[in-house]
């Protein structure tokens, strides 16, 4: 048993190592377009992990994720920039994450009382409120035109193209540098979220989702855990907001609208509710697909070249159609999300590899007691 366990662990370590190596090597081979897709995907993945924790694991529907992303993004810009306190950017980034967490904490009295679809509508109010504030509080948010984002600087190293840096013959601009920052932050997100989900808090949150009554009777402080889920989720959203701000280099109010919230919901549903890997896969899917389709749509049949208006479908519209179709197909053929799809494929592969001896001792599908259970009248 322990031998098999340690072997599985070694395999997993091997895969992790390979994935990290490939991800670290990519900036040496990819141009800025692909790197930018990667940056947006990593930021979205962090945000999606946060929403997955709240909606997928703890079962609290939130349409307000865009609000907490905005708090993180604008919090960073204001804290690090002018006008604003002009703090060191690294400090500003950390404070922005905490600020988003505090915003989630402020909302938690509402979250503690309202459930299900009613909570969804209550969080919807946050998005409209946030959007209004972003548009009107000019001195902090820059109003309709937004604000430019000060580049992050850690220990004298700037994540921008200001200074020249060449590694192994590859010029390292803002995208390349931010790529590694994004990877590091995503790794932190993955590590902490998996720890949470597998640990005591994760089990308590799952219990809340499946039955609040059972959770309470087992000793889970229901209202406390409901609020905590909101705070933690908002902190991940805040971090994602900071990452997005750094990748965009400019924050504008219109980005943080209801559509963004819905995008994040789409990410966790497409990826598969309740898992970190699923949220990540969904985030990459929802972020990268429209960008890729817009870029390559002109190579598809029946799509007009950009700029021409001869009645054919424009590349942007075509990209939208394909994106929509991809979502519908995913939900039809992978109702438990990309994560579930991968898991099923892997199980089938393993089954085929071990097919000759069909005795699957690990399979619990036939509990021994069910064979002897007979119908019996209850007195």
């Amino acid at each position: 048993m322990s031998e098999r366990l340690s072997r599985a662990r070694a395999v997993r370590l091997g895969w992790t190592f390979a994935a990290v190596t490939v991800l670290c090597a990519l900036p040496f081979y990819l141009d800025a377009f692909w790197l930018r897709i990667g940056l947006f995907s990593m930021a979205a993945a962090v945000g999606a992990v946060g929403l997955g924790l709240l909606t997928g694991t703890a079962g609290q529907l939130s349409l307000g994720h865009a609000f907490f992303l905005a708090v993180g993004a604008y919090g960073y810009v204001w804290l690090a920039g002018e006008p604003g306190p002009g703090l060191p950017t690294a400090v500003a980034a950390v404070l922005a994450v905490l600020l988003a967490g505090a915003a989630g904490g402020l909302f938690s009295p509402v979250a503690g009382r309202v459930r299900g679809i009613y909570l969804g509508v209550a969080t919807l109010a946050l998005v409209f409120l946030g959007h209004h504030v972003l548009l009107t509080a000019d001195s902090v948010t820059g109003g309709f035109n937004g604000r430019s984002v000060p580049p992050l600087e850690v220990g004298g190293f700037s994540f921008s193209s200001d200074s020249d840096l060449t590694l192994l013959g590859v010029p390292f601009g803002a995208e390349e540098r931010l790529w590694y920052l994004g990877l590091a932050l995503f790794a932190v997100t993955w590590f902490t979220a998996c720890g949470l989900l597998r640990g005591r808090p994760g089990r308590a949150l799952v219990a809340l989702r499946d039955s609040e009554t059972a959770a309470a009777v087992m000793g889970v402080d229901v209202s406390r855990y409901r609020s905590a889920a909101f705070v933690v989720s908002s902190m991940y959203a805040g971090l994602a907001g900071v990452m997005l701000a750094l990748a965009f280099r400019r924050v504008v109010p219109d980005y943080f609208g209801l559509v963004l919230s819905v995008d994040y919901l789409a990410m966790i549903v497409i990826g598969g509710l309740g898992s970190v890997a699923g949220a990540t896969a969904g985030a990459v899917f929802v972020t990268a697909l429209p960008l890729l389709m817009t870029r390559y749509a002109d190579q598809l049949p029946l799509v007009a070249a950009p700029g021409t208006t001869d009645g054919a479908v424009g590349p942007t519209e075509a990209a939208r159609y394909l994106y929509g179709a991809a979502i519908v197909l995913t939900l039809l053929f992978a109702p438990d999300g990309l994560h579930g799809l991968v898991r099923r494929l892997r199980a089938r592969l393993r089954h085929r590899l071990t097919a000759p001896p069909p005795a699957d001792t690990a399979s619990p599908s036939q509990p021994p007691t069910s064979a002897v259970r007979a119908k019996e009248p209850t007195p």
Binding site: P364, T369, S370
Partner: protein, 266 residues
């Protein structure tokens, strides 16, 4: 499972009344669960047995009356605080969470473990150590209830009887001093019933806890219970040892029918 050195405190229910919009579900109900005994609550459907359990576990607040566990007043406490004091329960309709048997049993260890959000997220050494220890405890509870072979199986794949057992094991994981069992053998076949009775007797002997039992299976009640309280329309109509209750004319009229039928049910 560690054996308690001291006897569990008595659970005292005094004059508890519960009303739901004009309907009196419990009417001045009083009884005391003697430490270390098996106390059965019986009565026809709608007699208020489950409401009584909900009051004991804090899911339902009585209009008047008190529930005390030793010196602690449970009447106004939130359910999770009552759980922390050592009152565990199972549900009539099985309420498990998705995930494996291990996940469910570890949930039962929630009140007895400490790791919070920060410690778990950063996987601090003490949180990981605690997780390992709790897993070992949960494994013991699974062995005790005969769930050992299913420890890593998803609960959804288990048979009905096994899922009832998961609830039972999860309640045991709380290391309770009072265990509330709501129809623990409903829907089980004879072998599974016998097995559950064995386990209840074993945990009572080993852990020295008090058990409050709601059950329709009269044979099982008569075999397991030290004391029986009979409810009818929210009122206590009889109280005593199984033999006394069995002979009580009021009980026979309200619930058991004739004596011959009682024997049949066994």
């Amino acid at each position: 499972m560690t054996t308690r050195t001291t006897a569990p405190p008595p659970l005292t229910v005094t004059d508890v009344t519960v009303r739901f919009a004009g309907l009196t579900a419990l009417d001045a109900v009083s009884f005391t669960v003697t430490p270390g005994s098996v106390h059965a609550l019986i009565g026809p459907n709608g007699a208020g047995k489950s409401t009584c359990f909900n009051v004991l576990s804090g899911l339902c607040r009585p209009a008047t009356g008190t529930v005390r566990l030793g010196d602690a007043d449970l009447t106004r406490l939130a359910p999770h605080r009552i759980a922390a004091l050592g009152v565990a329960r199972t549900f009539q309709n099985i309420v498990t969470t998705r995930g494996t048997v291990a996940d469910n049993l570890l949930l039962g260890r929630h009140a007895l473990s400490r790791a919070g959000f920060t410690a778990s997220a950063l996987r601090l050494p003490h949180a990981r150590r605690e997780q390992r220890e709790q897993l070992a405890r949960a494994c013991e509870a699974a062995e005790l209830t005969g769930l050992g072979p299913h420890f890593d199986s998803p609960v959804a794949l288990l048979s009905y009887g096994d899922r009832k057992r998961v609830e039972f094991a999860r309640a045991l994981c709380l290391e309770p001093s009072v265990l509330l069992l709501d129809e623990p053998v409903a829907g089980m076949n004879a072998a599974e019933r016998a097995r559950t009775v064995e386990v209840v007797q074993a945990v009572r002997a080993e852990l020295g806890l008090s058990v409050v039992l709601v059950e329709h299976d009269m044979g099982l009640v008569m075999r397991l219970a030290d004391e029986v309280t009979v409810l009818d329309f929210g009122r206590v109509i009889a109280h005593g040892t199984p033999d006394e209750v069995r002979r009580d004319p009021e009980v026979l009229r309200a619930y058991l029918g004739t004596g011959a039928e009682t024997e049949d049910a066994a």
